[in-house]
Amino acid sequence: MIPVEFYVVLSTLLFFIGVYGFIARKNLIGMLMAIELVLNAVNINFVAFNRYLFPGQLEGYLYSLFVIVVAAAETAVAIAIIINVYRKMGNETVDSIKELKN
């Protein structure tokens, strides 16, 4: 069986790739994709620890299930907001959002 440390290293690298994307991108959709990578890194940790420590129980499993649901909801609302921003400002980079209310 693969040592659990490998999963932790993989998810650490994935998490910080997501962090890099979140800082380096200006595009709102690109930033949202980076957030998805971060959430997936956390899910890998939950699932791996659940499988290795308590294989008969479902705590980490259900937690990552709920994380997936919340991520889907968050993405839907965020994309609605991004499309709204695009209609108002004409492009979808972070710099274009200078005001919250006209």
Binding site: M1, I2, V4, E5, F6, Y7, V8, V9, L10, T12, L13, L14, F15, F16, I17, G18, V19, Y20, G21, I23, A24, R25, K26, N27, I29, G30, M33, A34, E36, L37, N40, I44, V47, A48, R51, Y52, L53, P55, G56, Q57, L58, Y61, L62, L65, F66, I68, V69, A71, A72, A73, T75, A76, V77, I79, A80, I82, I83, N84, Y86, E92
Partner: protein, 186 residues
């Protein structure tokens, strides 16, 4: 060296290579549509990881919700918002350097903590190791359904219902955002 070349380890190495390379390409590419496709492949790799841990239902959820739903949503949003074929943005080199530095510092901090900390419970006892290795009972839908809809210990009815309310709020919120914009245009 040879004892590491089991099928399990090779599959894990391949999957993690696919995940990391696709994730890295997804955050560094200039074309937004390509970033979405790379994200798609990274998510498929993660579903494969869940499959390797014999969590079939979670792999199916990952594929259908993330790879099937969220990535398609991203692609639609890119089609609506973005001018295809145009490079997404010019990010200055200094910003990229700052981001890379922050990420590298985070990786170094986390990995050094991971490998230098004296764990008391992290390394499994031999019995727990055996238990994890010989555990063959698959997680079937019966267990998941009972855990989601029960009110006892280790059962999660309340988060399940809260998720339902969250999804309802999400639908209404998206509709309100879209509707308000239409009235403004008139």
């Amino acid at each position: 060296m040879m004892e590491y070349l089991t099928a399990n380890n090779i599959i894990f190495a391949l999957l993690s290579a696919v995940i990391l390379i696709c994730a890295l390409l997804s955050v560094t590419t200039n074309k937004l549509l390509r970033a979405a496709i790379y994200l798609f492949f990274a998510l498929i790799g993660i579903a494969g990881l869940y499959l390797q841990l014999s969590y079939e239902f979670l792999a199916a959820v990952e594929l259908s919700v993330y790879a099937g739903g969220i990535v398609i949503l991203f692609v639609f949003a890119i089609f609506l918002v973005h001018r295809i074929g145009e490079n997404s943005e010019e990010v200055s080199l200094s910003k990229k350097a700052i981001a890379g530095l922050a990420a590298a510092a985070g990786v170094a901090l986390c990995l050094s903590t991971l490998f230098m900390y004296e764990y008391t419970t992290f390394h499994l006892t031999p019995e727990a190791q055996m238990n994890a290795e010989t555990f063959t009972q698959t997680i079937n839908m019966d267990m998941i359904g009972k855990a989601l809809l029960g009110t006892g210990k280790h059962q999660y009815l309340l988060p399940f219902e809260a998720t339902g309310i969250l999804l309802l709020a999400c639908i209404i919120g998206s509709l309100v955002i879209a509707k308000k914009e239409k009235e403004d245009n008139k």
